[in-house]
């Protein structure tokens, strides 16, 4: 039943999914690390990216425009939401932050359902990337192969922003000790707004580039959010490398289990999360004491 070609192609699928999860989780984790807010609307941001891209695609017919529109729109949504709502919750208990972002996720999902209905939408891959590429040992959909590259580039870009720019340095310092950054005279609110925007954009970008692979529907974000949480718990909260490692592990677990029985994918994911919690409670690459 298990043939090798099938297995390898599932591993590739897992790699693509893992890279995607790594990107989304990075967004979630830098927002949490810097702002201290766990954004339960992060899955909805992924979904919004897909829909914004789809709308842009229907008007322009260009995939590139769709990707740009999807990412920028979600970044804008992130900035507006931070400015209008999240900002007032920094001093409130964690529970209130969870409640309000949970509420926002419902508003986003239902608003999309209101405007676009519950039926799923598809964005086709750009012309040159349609079809199948022979890899010698197997045939693999060209767009998925390209997607791996696209997401890798996005992760590199995020890495560059985090580790090679002034803002990135402040963000990383903020993850270590936000009080200290505040007292150094840096306008943290401006940084917070930007980080929330960038974090949301990571999810939005993932949402639109994934649209040619998995069609979009108002509730696609929910499953993604759950997977993202598992990734972050496995990798360690607030750790960018942890998000990448966790994403790749989760991607493989989901695809390889799905090869045998898709129903068990989540169960295996949960088993992996439990193992990490028991053996390394702060995550594979997380630092102790970061709550």
């Amino acid at each position: 039943m298990v043939n090798w070609a099938n297995f390898i192609s599932q591993c590739f699928n897992g790699l693509v999914l893992g890279a995607l999860l790594a990107l989304i989780s990075s967004g979630l984790t830098i927002i949490y690390g810097t702002l201290g807010v766990l954004n339960l609307a992060h899955g909805a941001m992924f979904m919004l990216g897909g829909y914004a891209g789809w709308v842009a695609y229907t008007y322009s017919g260009s995939f590139l425009v769709a990707v740009a529109a999807g990412s920028l729109f979600v970044m804008l949504v992130g900035i507006v939401v931070e400015r209008l709502i999240i900002r007032h919750f920094y001093t409130r208990p964690h529970e209130d932050q969870l409640l309000v972002t949970f509420g926002l996720s419902i508003v986003f999902v239902e608003a999309v359902r209101f405007f676009f209905g519950s039926l799923s939408k598809m964005v086709p891959p750009p012309g040159p990337l349609v079809g199948i590429t022979p890899l010698g040992f197997m045939m693999y959909p060209t767009y998925r192969l390209a997607l791996l590259g696209i997401v890798a580039v996005a992760l590199l870009a995020l890495y560059f922003v985090l580790y090679r720019t002034r803002i990135g340095m402040i963000v990383r310092a903020g993850i270590e000790d936000s009080v200290m950054v505040d007292s150094l005279g840096i306008d943290v609110y401006k940084i917070f707004m930007l980080v929330f925007g960038i974090g949301a954009m990571a999810a939005g970008f993932a949402g639109i580039v994934n649209a040619p692979v998995v069609s979009i529907a108002p509730d696609v974000g929910e499953a993604i959010l759950v997977q993202t949480f598992v990734v972050v718990v496995i990798g360690g909260v607030g750790s960018f490398p942890g998000a990448i490692l966790g994403g790749l592990i989760a991607g493989q677990i989901i695809s390889i289990t799905s090869m045998f029985n898709p129903g068990y994918a989540y169960i295996m994911l949960f088993v992996a999360m439990t193992l990490v919690l028991v053996l390394r409670p702060y995550g594979l690459l997380g630092a102790a004491g970061r709550e």
Partner: protein, 616 residues
Amino acid sequence: MRSQRPFLVETITAIALILAPFVLPHLGFTPNTINRILVWGLFGLGFDILFGYTGLLSFGQSAFFGTGGMFAAYLLTEAGFGYVMAAVFLGTIVAAIVGYLIGLIALRRTGIYFAMITVAIAEVFFFVEFNPLSAFTGGENGLPGVPRPSIFLGFTTLEFNTDFQVYGFLAFWYFVGLVIALRIVRSPVGAILSAIRDNPQRAAALGHDIHSYKLTAFVVAAAYAGFAGGMLGLMQGFMPPDAFMFETSGQLVMQTAIGGAGTLFGPLVGAAVWLYLSDFFQNTLHLGATWKLVLGIVFVLLVCFLRHGIVGAVIDLYRLVAGRWAETAPGAGVVPPASVPATPPTVAMMPARRRDSDRSSGPILQATGLTKRYGGVVANSDIDFTVNHGELRGIIGPNGAGKSTFFKMLTCEVPPTSGQILFEGKDITGMGVADVCQLGLTKSYQINQLFNRLTVRENLMIAALAETRGKFKLDLFSNPRNSPELTEQVDHAMALVNLASRGDAQVSELAYGEKRRLEIGLALATSPSLLLLDEPLAGMSPAERIETVKLLKSISRGRTMIVIDHDMDALFELAERVTVLQEGRVLVEGTPDEIKGNTKVQEAYLGGVHDVLAAQ
């Protein structure tokens, strides 16, 4: 108020439950909606104990709701089990057991980790129900044909077939559930859960096994969820698979937040609002699927602007009105000024715990080679330190000398990098802070660590409960107000720290000096045989300092104490011996007079002023 009219809440609820089916239909509630409100209310009783009282926000309650409901429904349909309520109770037990196992995993972490893990749990259970267990649960079809309950009374059988009859059945069980929940939140366990919500670290430092208490709250919530799930099946005659959906957890969370967490009634009120609005939007305004969007917006606005939900707002309003009324009434409501008596309080001393060991002589605490490194920073280095029974030891040292780190190691808040600590001859190195407190060693904190939403009396009770009940005890149904020894102990502690007139004041209403005294009182109320005080005089006015020094003197009788402070005059007056720490090491140790005259100490504090003077 509660103690004066013990069954007030229960009575009002009973009356409301009897009147509801006659009143609510006139307000536009359908009988079916009223029944669903009760099921959600039952579900929410347990959730509120977990979220409102313990501060653990779980997004995974659907897992237990579904498990309990499916188990009961399976017994009653596929398995042909004939006893309806027995099936529901079995479902409740299964949900509680599953809750225990899941709690072991989810409670390994707190805060947002806990929230994320519970979200994952909810999703996993949904998939388990749909796939591996679909042979038992009916997969996406659920389990139809759940029988309506009927109770055989010997001479007649009570049938519950119409909505109205089912209401009676559900209302009865809601009332039972409420009475149990009220007992739990009024029990010592309930008090400790609130303490954990306000300040988990301090609750542990006072000797409570907070992990076990959190697990208790988690299991209680799971049991309520399982029971409510069973009721859902009975009410609908069908166990729907969407009981397992993440949306179910989300709806429970939102209803509780709308109604107001921490009141037990919040989830019921929230469910009434939620279900009423959803009926209204769909049936009267014909909004179709948009109703959820509108409710979502309403919810976000409520979280932003009505922080304590509807029930919380009503309570706040009541307090405001009652407060106004008390102010205008002559003579009433005048709070006696928190006067500081000129003499130390003349109350019986709070005895340190009597222990088997010979208390009269010899060392009570011995630390050898105690070292603590934080990365490259050496906070404490190779400290040897011994304190004898009955001693009052002072510790001084410049800022950054490692005094607080030293105290944290002694109370086992942080493990030493190397070295050993013996307390009453027992090796306590590496033990938990709660265990050490149970042995009779605790400290008061440099920065107040109080339970801010509790009253002074409740704060001290949390500390006293640790001593009378031990680390963990499941007295879910006892009432601490009925224990005269406990009341006496709390009263003593309150009088000792001069807060007798402020017993019913919330911590957030206290002045700084009062909070500082309560901080000491908390440590004292655990009846420690060795009490550590980390800068008890910090931030106090000169007058308050004099009073506090008197207080410290009075509590030092019959007890061993170690005091850190920067106020050397006060410390030299208090202590019999003084240890000076500098740069993580013991510089010197001696009587106050020896320390005063010691040139090394003067150099440490004044940076070698003698050399400077000599050079001039």
